[in-house]
Amino acid sequence: MPAAYALIDCNNFYASCERVFRPELRGRPVVVLSNNDGCVIARSAEAKELGVGMGTPYFKCRTMLERQGVAVFSSNYALYGDLSARVMRVLGRFCPSVEIYSIDEAFADLSGVPGGAAAFSRRLRATVEAWTGIPVSIGLGPTKTLAKLANRFAKKQPRCRGVFDLAASPDPDRVLRWTDVGEVWGIGPRHAKRLRKLGVRTALDFRELKREWVRRKMTVTGLHTLLELRGLPCLDFASGPPSKKTIVSSRSFGHPVTRLEDLMEATAQYATRAAEKLRRQRSVAGHVLVHLETNRFRLGEPQYNNAAPVPLAVATAHTPDLIRAAQAGLKRIFRDGYAYKKCGVMLSGLESEDGRWLSLLDLPPDAHGRHAPLMRAVDACNSRWGRDTVKFAASGLNGTWRMRRELCSPRYTTAWEELLTVKAG
């Protein structure tokens, strides 16, 4: 049975989340702003078409967005996290094995599913959208890299209707020719630039390069990408280039784990590792997702998979905070009586350390240990945006420091007082 990897990717995820409870926004341009309403971090297809750039500061495009009738939202990680966990859980329910790759993407191994991977994917796509309200695109290929490529094609070509199977295509090379070399999974912007200079412009050009050359110039990572494009799987589950949007730390256990205490320890370890990666790239995270699953291949054993989103009040890279959040999420989803195979921690809502918002009032009284980095961050904010952008509460509150989330949608799925209201009239 040939391998059939699927990449399931939510379409314009944050914008789609806003639309689940605001269906009148379907077909209308939607953008989502970063913490503190700083800049554009997500765009619907319509907003992309209007030419709204990723990362554009809000103050620069505000007038234009208003004039064009774009719906603008502050980021609502409570909502996005919950809907992401729902999507992942639906995937986990129907697919033989799933690897959560980012807040809005997952790989699944669909080899041997009844009826064939493409037909299965169409049903899966319809189910995810019906159950969660989130539209997804699914790309299928014999390797993860090709599945990624197929997914982009599925998304951009309307006639695919959201599912594209590279292996079943009469001319798979056409898709590779259509894909810019910089869009290939694992080829970073630096390598892409170098390759273009040498006339290697598309995924197809890249695939035709000599192995030895690629190995020499782009190390083993580049070689893996090359072989994957040729249909030889080099990246199995839980391997591949890291996602730019998220940091994942998760692993399968050597033995089935049943006790909460053990899972708490593992979760703390994964949170610690993720926090290290986070600080290494000088970022902070606004959202933690914990996930937990049993071994699907043990037939006859009770199966359970779940994920808990934990939005953070303040984006942080502080390990104890992240551990606390991850463990709180784990406690919420842990159920006794199952043999767990895997758990993991994913950080998303990543922002640069300098750009984050500091809510001084949220700091607990025992925050002495954080003073040094806090001070560094305060100084960074103030030097970047002017004196007193961030200041101590003791020096007087005039509200200028308050987090700007004026355009935030309700937390429809996580706060009783913010539920959707339906009219019985």
């Binding site: 129907f94 189910t127 019906a130 429809y412 959707l420």
Partner: protein
């Protein structure tokens, strides 16, 4: 007119396999049972279950009052007879989906309100099927 959320109803797997015991537990059984969890009862498919709040009294006859909490299941295929959250011309409303002759009607359960006939011109879809009402007494 399109009835939305109609996908893949045949393709279901049980969540955990075991049924919730309903009778008096046998003392011979091992003490492995979990306490009853209301979530399992009202939301067997949590990933497809959403809560919404009711405003208005047009569904009093169905036991749905102003301010009640509705448990909405999006994994259910909507059928005539179901109480549904419908989207009519861009607005959410809760009504009973009723077959009338060849067509469908969104029927209130309060004589003070008129049913909404669904003509081919109506922009209509079902957002989810209401499975339970949580009413504070």
């Amino acid at each position: 007119m399109a009835v939305g959320a109609l996908a893949c109803a045949r393709h279901r797997l049980p969540l955990a396999g075991e049924a919730v015991p309903a009778g008096f537990p046998s003392p011979a059984e091992e003490y492995l049972e979990r306490p009853l969890d209301l979530n399992e009862y009202v939301a067997p498919r949590p990933e497809a279950t959403f809560f919404v709040r009711v405003s208005g009294d047009s569904m009093i006859g169905a036991g749905i009052h102003h301010g009640d909490l509705l448990v909405v299941d999006r994994s259910q295929e909507p059928r005539p007879g179901n109480v549904v959250i419908a989207l009519v011309d861009g607005e959410f409303t809760v009504k009973r989906l009723v077959r009338e002759g060849e067509g469908l009607v969104l029927a209130p359960e309060n004589e003070a309100y008129a049913p909404i006939a669904l003509t081919p011109e109506t922009e209509f879809s079902v957002w989810g099927v209401v499975r339970h009402v949580v009413h504070r007494v």
